[in-house]
């Protein structure tokens, strides 16, 4: 029997920070298209299928001429892009979270050559978590430890059923672990959220909290843990009795973990919400074992933080304007820079600020030349002056990605890059070469 499909096993899914490593992908040998995905969640599965040819996949470089995207050669596109970057006085290189580590490394090199601002999507996502860790440290662990040991799991401001669909099945809820042999029945799940989310609906305890009042609630929990008798009857919509009961649950667990998300980082107080959550976890270690893990959104934003840090000393929002890396979110973070209209050209790699940045900042982004390294038509690339069509990392080219718990895993290549697409890494290498040439002129 002639083989019609090739099956790839143990494939790492390039969507979210859970970085599931057990996908099976069938690729049709004749057409080189993905025909079946097994074990992936709905979103990961869709990502594999969206790599197949479609009207929203870029396969040739484009330059905006007279308001329309026109197909051009790679040489012309790279030249134009390099020209934009070299002529800019304060260029921004942003994104990098949906690509592999070698490409991220090239991004650092390019930013340094241009004395640019270098930033990744942590800036609008878990940047506050990194700020908090820089202030008060963090007691972390790998997901394997959680799966095997944790009997008390708290999701705070995180809704994995929607954002990390297989997290509960693989690590944090349903799966049997070495010391959790009865799976779900061996675990106690707590969800803290202003809404009774789908994750809350399958929890053992749901704590309804007032929006934007997480800091006060965690302070109350910590003070009760210290043994202080509080003056108040209720904090952030939660009664003092419920707070005391929660403290007893936490103290009496064998091995606890807090998974936290945008509910903490994107609400008022931002990094201070995470700061106090970290301190709570540290203080619980006076009684039992407790850890925390940030629920990273993109599958390789953790990798971008790693690569940027080992190259520059800083994880995101880095400024090279004085010839050496400096770090200060708020001053050198992408949205803040755009709100002050301080950027006069942008290179967007493996991300979509057009969709995900506040509208007022996108307006300023569009006022200046914009280059997008991107496989698909998005609200960013649709309005770019130069589109450099990329192969999709984890599908059409291999590389390394870091999971939310900072474990590095290898991304697989299951099919060839279509059309004239190149890997992000190669595109950035060509840009670096051309920029160096122009600067040497």
């Amino acid at each position: 029997m002639v083989e019609k499909v090739k099956t790839f096993e143990d494939v790492c899914c390039p969507f979210c920070g859970t970085l599931c490593d057990d996908l099976e992908i069938d690729v049709d040998l004749k057409t080189d298209q993905v025909v079946e995905v097994r074990n992936g969640c709905q979103i990961g599965t869709k990502k594999y299928f969206s790599s197949n040819p479609s009207d929203h996949r870029f396969t040739k470089p484009l330059i905006r001429k007279n308001g329309e995207h026109v197909e051009v050669s790679w040489d012309e596109a790279i030249d134009k892009a390099a020209d934009i970057l070299v002529k800019a006085q304060r260029p921004l290189l942003y994104g990098f979270s949906s690509t592999e580590c070698d490409a991220q490394s090239r991004g650092v090199e390019l930013a340094e050559i241009l004395n640019a601002i270098l930033d990744n999507t942590a800036s609008v996502c878990h940047g506050p978590s990194l700020l908090a860790i820089q202030d008060v440290g963090a007691s972390l662990a790998t997901l394997g430890e959680i799966k095997n040991r944790a009997d008390t799991i708290i999701f705070w401001g995180s809704n994995p059923v929607h954002a990390h669909p297989r997290h509960l099945s693989r690590y944090s809820d349903f799966i049997r672990g070495y010391f959790r042999t009865d799976g779900r029945n061996d675990r106690y799940i707590v969800v803290v959220d202003p809404r009774n989310t789908h994750t809350a609906q399958i929890a053992d305890k749901y704590i309804r909290i007032n929006p934007s009042e997480d800091y006060e609630l965690i302070q109350a929990i910590r003070a009760v843990l210290r043994g202080a008798d509080l003056d108040v009857k209720e904090v952030s919509g939660v009664s003092i009795e419920d707070i005391k009961e929660l403290v007893e649950i936490l103290k009496s667990s064998n091995f606890g973990v807090v998974f936290f998300g945008m509910g903490l980082t994107q609400s008022l107080a931002h990094h201070r919400n995470v700061d106090t959550a970290i301190r709570l976890v540290a203080e619980l270690n006076d009684y039992t074992k407790f850890l925390l893990i940030p629920m990273r959104g993109h599958y390789n934003v953790a990798g971008a933080n790693q690569v940027f840090t080992w190259n520059t000393g800083y994880a995101y929002s880095i400024d090279f304007s004085r010839g050496y890396p400096r770090y200060n979110p708020g001053e050198f973070s992408s949205v803040d820079l755009l709100m002050r209209d301080e950027v006069d050209a942008a290179l967007i790699v493996a991300s979509d600020p057009g969709s995900n940045f506040p509208a007022a900042s996108v307006k300023n982004l569009f006022k200046h030349p914009l280059i997008a390294i991107e496989p698909h038509k998005t609200p960013t690339s649709a309005f770019a002056d130069v589109v450099l069509p990329a192969a999709i990392a984890g599908i059409e080219c291999e590389g390394t990605a870091y999971r939310m718990d900072k474990v590095p895993l290898r991304l697989r290549k299951v099919k060839e890059p279509p059309g004239e697409t190149l890997s992000d890494k190669e595109i950035l290498e060509r840009l670096i070469e051309k920029v160096k040439e122009k600067l040497g002129e």
Partner: protein, 131 residues
Amino acid sequence: MSLNNLILLTGRTISQGVALEGGKASRENVRAAGICTFDTDDFKKLDCIVGTPVKVITDYGEVLVYSTITEEGPHPGIIFIPMGPWANQLVNPSSQGCGTPTYKGIKAKVEVVKNGKVLGAIELIGKLKEA
């Protein structure tokens, strides 16, 4: 009909995730992310059928989205719009000096509109280019 004194939350949904991978210019994306989810009792006060376009207004902007009823309630006084171009017309761009905008917890109000088209993602963001 209108509702005042609401709090807007934004975030991921699995449908929005599937839609963004499937094509951000698609109609599927509008149906997944160009929506505003209401608490069941709050929605009754709007006195309209599910799917009616509503205008959501905050201090930072306004946008037309399709109305729908929550599966993640009750959450009286809270509306939820999935992350994306529609939500980002409304969120607070200020990071209070920390770098990350305030995407959650914004005061909002909602009006039912008689006529109005919920725009696709590219068209909606395209307005920022022309302006």
